[in-house]
Assembly symmetry: C2
Homo-oligomer: 579 residues x 2
């Protein structure tokens, strides 16, 4: 299976048979129908010509089918990444210009290269820097920004801006210009789509359909809205903004513009797009894989998504990733292998070659309505209340991310969220869990003196460290032990109980040497107990064990028996050390 | 003692008596003698007029005596901070210009404000980001840069540059211009100072002196070199670069220049100066405090060092911090309270008012020699070998920091070091220690199946997590558990043994909910055992416990007894899971 590490296709292609083919074809058909209006809408959200959304749904799907590890993930344009593309490309070029389209291609290329590089270096763990409250906060705030940004298409008036206040401020003065026809179509489409989402499925089930087909038809709601509104506009010649002429033909195959200044200006946005896209996609892929007891490999997923983005950049697309709603439809429709994705790509290609003239009269207000209904599902205010109850620090991370995203923009929002999460994490990591322990009477066990009735001795103190000792907490260890000794003049021995210490890095080793030396100056011996095998092996390669004023005891009980004089207690004791 | 939190003076001033006064006065006298040539030399290293070094040794010492917590730390100019000042000020102004001096004052003010702010916000833990290998690597590389930068004064030729290659490249073409008299004095002074450092103390002891006075006289070596060389140059009228006229009189009292563009350009350098200065100073202060079983408070130290720097910025100085060699002399000379520092300030003030004319003929080559001999003691190549043996990741952090500092400059060096340390830390933190455990026969204990002969059951698996569950390792937990289930089709139960889990943050909670849901889809129940009290209290405020497909067991033994069917083993087993 070694070859399959970089070409996961080898895992499933050999066992491919007629049944699998039929399942994959049916799923591909359903996803294609769903994907056509979605890719048009998200290209619109990204500020790009409608056909770019279709182009981004062809080659990238083939690339992911070859290199991705999820069997059911549906790759293509998604809402949040489209918003981030609009912000990044809008930072270097005017929407509608050729440079803007070029910037979107460069973003796809750069984020693709970043993802592949991270995959080859096995840096998938970097996605961990985005904690759940940060992601949820970012997605919620992005959903709000996206919905507000689409109001202009529903109202039929211009507006711009990248933060909530600037968007609203630029929309406000244009409100008197609202176009009634556009507004009517937009509001009707929005209301219809909301009803489809909630009410159509029960109706179909009552009408005798089984649960799964009922669900799939309900998901096709946007297609119904697209067909009905297009027919309406074409039939009655209504004056609304429509998609207009979409070039028919194969996607343009060309390398993205090489412009060093533009590339370096887009590098950080591309990095953020890569990471947000990866985090979103992996969680969708994991959810679906687990339902069938399959696995995905996050490092290979980086390569799969990376090649998909590189493919997008060479075929007139823009940044893509795995989308939630579409992948669930793919899964529910019975997709069994990534071939379903490749068949979807063929479906979209057929649409590009044959169907685009039919989309001429599709009203943009309807596409905006599909976006609004889709992203309102991303907004999760309930989580605020949950986090407030569960942990204030997580609440702070989410609130900070939401506020920064809404008021400072999406890129600042992600960075603030990561910064807040990391700072909180490092702050906690710098204060590890530890307890002064004593002997539980009648046993050889040692427990926290603050929580149990235990035996201690005035001439010794034992500190049990519950985490690995590294540079993050090395200074804390020094402070803590020196404080202990400063507060207890009667001490002769300090024992570090290392039963939970899995690692001692060079900084902590240096601190232990310093502590040993300083305690020695103060006439106190430093001992260690219950040091794990691998930790001990490493310590033997250092000079600490030679310099140690005390001993290393195999068990804490040995240490206590040998060092304690006049043990006292066995009752709950309070000792003046904050724990 | 609450008041003493922000004014530690109140801790010692009440008990001040005649004996303490005499001890402090003697120490202050000795430190003053040592500090005069040192402050001149370090001002030279910083590219500033000689008197700036003296000014930086007056008010800052008084400020630290009021607000610092170490009783024996000697604050003032130090080598590494002087180098960093030269680099930062050199980035915005030409050495020798009035703007350059103004930039040094702004650096002192900004780093002082940063330190005070960090102290008030109790952000001392941020200093943990500098791991021991990074600090050691930075100090070693800085020592090399400083020594090389001083070669020009020994050789009597101009050179410049901020990295090792640029320094050497600018020195090389000037070598034919070397001035023999300067070179002779410089080499003689260097040789003398090396001999003093190693050979004078044993000689004095053999001559009948006690150990401590012998040590103190040996530390006064630079003063002897200064007096002898000044007399030589003045007596024979030698043509060498000398300190020249130093203005006599009180330090100039003025606020630093307010120039927003300059301030924002110097903000990052000031931050680096603040953090490096703090880390250096705190480790010196801790070493000395521990010898007398005293304590220092790192957060209050931030305030002490911060006010010292602010004082420097208002009295014509430049950034200061606690110096190692000088503090040891202060300690050995018997300083008992921070009043010794205040008396030293008075000593330097007297020197500024009376002694500066005597320094007119002091050769700069001799000051350069004192710097070279001092900083060569900072260089620690032996640590490379130790780290290579002890831990490759720590070696990589040190090597990266040394290379970045030497070849990219001091500021990049610190940033690269912190980046490398943090990345390595987060990488390890994202892969926490965990073990699949089984029952030790005849006991109620559970141990790692890979290391012990234990009993397991085919229908259940128990994973003991040895660290807190947070966003850093939440994704790992999902991957690990889903992999377990994917690889063992016969599983009915997964138990998470949480005996070492001190915290579950919102991201890990979300992961547990997802895992529970996904395992449920796969027909496997998720259980937890030995959840600690505070963790359980929090979980009760979440929806996990309601949704959990399995149970929460008080003890792992209960879980095993209730869930295991057909337990097998009791012999060493190998199970196909990498650990």
């Amino acid at each position: 299976m070694r070859r399959a590490r970089y070409l996961p296709m080898l895992d499933w292609a050999a066992a491919y048979d007629r049944n699998t083919l039929v399942s994959d074809l049916i799923a591909a058909l359903i996803v294609t129908i769903m994907l056509v209006p979605q890719s048009l809408a998200y290209a619109l959200l990204a500020g790009l010509p409608a056909q770019v959304g279709l182009y981004a749904s062809i080659l990238p799907l083939i690339a992911y089918a070859l290199f991705g590890t999820s069997r059911t993930l549906s790759v293509g344009p998604v809402a949040v990444i489209s918003l981030m593309t609009a912000v990044a490309a809008g930072g270097v070029a005017a929407p509608g210009s050729a440079e803007y389209v070029a910037a979107a291609l460069i973003l796809a290329l750069l984020s693709g290269l970043i993802l592949v590089l991270m995959g080859l270096l096995k840096l998938g763990f970097l996605a961990n820097l985005l904690s759940h409250p940060v992601i949820a906060g970012f997605i919620t705030a992005s959903g709000i920004l996206i919905a507000v940004s689409q109001l202009r298409h529903i109202l039929g008036v211009p507006s711009h801006g990248e933060t909530l206040p600037t968007m609203l401020a630029s929309l406000w003065p244009n409100l008197p210009e609202v176009r009634p026809v556009t507004l009517t179509i937009g509001v009707a489409a929005t209301a219809f789509l909301f009803w489809v989402r909630g009410g159509l499925k029960p109706l179909l089930i009552r009408a005798g359909l089984a649960r799964r087909p009922a669900e799939l038809i309900a998901k096709a709601g946007p297609v119904l809205a697209v067909i009905a509104s297009t027919a309406l506009v074409a039939g009655f010649g209504l004056e609304v903004a429509t998609v207009g002429a979409i070039p028919t033909g194969l996607p343009p195959m060309a390398a993205p513009l090489f412009d060093p200044a533009l590339w370096s200006a887009l590098l950080v946005p591309a990095l953020l797009i890569a990471i947000i896209g990866f985090v979103e996609s992996v969680s969708v892929a994991q959810t679906l894989a687990a339902r069938r007891r399959q696995r995905i490999d996050p490092d290979q997923e980086l390569i799969g998504l990376g090649t998909a983005n590189i493919a997008a950049s060479f075929s007139g697309g823009y940044p893509v990733t795995g989308g939630f709603a579409r992948s669930v439809v793919n899964f529910d429709a019975g997709a069994e292998t990534p071939a379903a994705g490749a068949f979807t790509a063929i479906g979209i290609l057929i649409a590009v070659l044959l169907l685009t003239p039919l989309l001429f009269h599709l009203p943009i207000a309807v596409l905006a309505a599909t976006i609004i209904v889709a992203v309102l599902g991303l907004i999760d205010f309930g989580l605020f209340a949950e986090l407030w109850r569960y942990a204030k620090s997580d609440f702070a991370a989410m609130a900070g991310t939401v506020a920064a995203t809404l008021f400072l923009g999406v890129e600042t929002g992600v960075l603030v969220g990561v910064g807040v999460s990391l700072a909180l994490y490092l702050w906690r990591a710098s204060r590890p869990h530890a307890a002064i322990v004593g002997l539980v009477p009648g046993t050889e066990h040692f427990r926290n003196v603050l929580r149990h009735r235990v035996i201690t001795a005035p001439n010794m103190v034992t500190l049990r460290i519950d985490e690995s000792l590294t540079f993050i907490n090395a200074r804390w260890l020094e402070d803590r032990l020196l404080a202990l000794v400063a507060e207890r003049p009667e001490l002769d021995h300090v024992v570090l109980m290392c039963s939970a210490v899995n690692e001692i890095d060079a900084s902590a080793l240096e601190s232990l040497e310093a502590i040993n030396h300083r305690l020695g100056d103060a006439g106190v011996k430093l001992h260690m107990s219950e040091v794990k095998g691998p930790v001990m092996d490493r310590l033997k390669r250092s000079s600490l064990l030679d310099a140690l004023s005390g001993q290393v005891f195999l068990s804490q009980y040995d240490a206590f028996r040998q060092l304690a004089t006049d043990p006292v207690g066995g009752e709950a004791k309070t000792i003046a050390i904050a724990d």
